[in-house]
Amino acid sequence: MIEVNILKSGVKRTLEVPKDMGLNLMELLKGEEYESIEGTCGGMALCATCHIKVKEAAPALSGPSGDELDMLETLPFIYKESRLACQIKLNENIRNLTVELVEN
């Protein structure tokens, strides 16, 4: 299992996730029914409705791909920590991951 910390309105919640289910962070957050995570396109980095901020992560977390950056570029506002949750795979590379939800 891996742990993912979720920050929402200043409150931190820790979720335990199996690392071998091929889940991505958008699917996890949607499953937990966070309303700001819509995941309209299903996880193809094509809609930017799972925009979040990565506050902390182990260096092994891969950076955003070109497609993800293209999609983030279409949003009215982004932050330097902005990512699309659907592009963060929850696998054994994930350690110390803390993400913050933003209004989408």
Partner: protein
């Protein structure tokens, strides 16, 4: 002058499931009129991932999303559907059984015997930048979030804000029509299609586009109608006031349930509760099919929506023609011209 449309079934949403409902209703000799807030048919397939392959449509090992939409539109053609695009149903009034009155945000009225909501995830509404007072200039007062009729901008001063392909493509197109075209983008560079980026840069060099990079929309000005926008350069912190007739922020779309929340439907977690016997809602005469509905073991799949469209159509037929016995006819036996 507002437009009035009469139909058997008003279908809210022109995504794949709404489109297939035309066919299923058509086999029962019921005519449909579809209304969608997007400017074209296809819902999220056309709007978000037209060039992505879909693998779980029975009979198609793989099909491009836009190809599926085109085929569904083609398949529905024999049943003469009507379409209203770029408008959103604001009010749904049940005046009596089999007598529904729907009105769009632009005043188009639709009278229908039954209503089918095939709204997917809801209306794709434009993302709005956080600029104070922006909403004052919506609805014809200068701020538009999508371009429906480019001719509207001919000879006018226009500011486009955004950095995606849609912003780039419209900037290129409108630079020919507008008297002045300003493109505002919050970053240093564009990440759109290289060809489009190159064109925009060339148009900026030749003075056809006034390009403002590292720039945000700061303040909107006008008395009743938009006449100017203050832009803030985030590097130099300098502000500049640009006179304009139109401001078009193009920051993509995000789905919202929208006005249907107030129609008296039972809604759970942004989806409409239905009876799985026929996908009817708590309001007699109103059905909900596809991703917009919810029930035990619901799967949000296009193929499930197609099944729901078939059962819904037979239920609507019974509602419109109570007591009339219908003998199931198969298209393989009869073709579709006899329906």
């Amino acid at each position: 002058m507002s437009i009035k449309i009469k139909t058997d079934i008003a279908i809210i949403g022109a995504g794949p499931v709404g489109l297939f409902a035309i066919f299923e209703a058509g086999l029962l000799k019921m005519r449909c009129h579809l209304i969608d807030y997007l400017p074209q048919a296809g819902g999220q397939l056309s709007e978000i991932y037209p060039k992505k392959p879909i693998y779980d449509i029975p009979g198609y090992p793989t099909v491009m999303a836009q190809e599926l939409v085109d085929n569904l539109v083609h398949q529905a053609e024999p049943f003469n559907p009507g379409y209203t695009f770029g408008e959103r149903i604001e009010t749904l009034e049940k005046r009596a059984e089999k007598d529904f009155h729907l009105v769009t945000n632009l005043g188009t009225e639709i009278e229908a015997s039954a209503v089918v909501i095939a709204g997917g995830l809801g209306c794709f509404e434009p993302r709005k930048p956080e600029v104070e007072g922006l909403t004052r200039f919506e609805n014809g007062k200068g701020v538009n979030y999508m371009i429906l009729d480019p001719e509207q901008y001919r000879g006018k001063k226009t500011i486009i804000a955004g950095g995606g392909d849609s912003a780039l493509d419209w900037a290129i197109y409108l630079s020919e029509l507008c008297s002045e075209l300003t493109l505002v983008h919050r970053s240093e560079s564009f990440r759109g299609t290289p060809d489009s980026v190159e064109k925009v840069m060339a148009l900026a060099d030749s003075g056809k586009i006034s390009l403002h990079l590292n720039t945000n929309l700061s303040t909107v000005h006008g008395n009743g109608k938009l006449n100017g926008v203050t832009l803030l350069n985030t590097r130099s912190n300098e502000e500049v006031l640009v006179d304009t007739d139109y401001l078009v922020p193009l920051f993509g779309l995000s789905p919202k349930l929208g006005p249907m929340e107030g129609w008296g439907l039972n809604i759970t977690k942004n989806a409409i509760e239905v009876n799985t016997d026929d996908y009817s809602t708590n309001i007699p005469g109103v059905w909900a099919i596809g991703d917009i509905n919810t029930y035990k073991n619901k799967l949000k799949l296009i193929l499930c929506g197609f099944h729901e469209a078939a059962l819904m159509s037979h239920s609507v037929y019974q509602y419109i023609h109570p007591g009339v016995k219908y003998t199931m006819k198969y298209t393989t036996v009869n073709g579709i011209s006899s329906f």
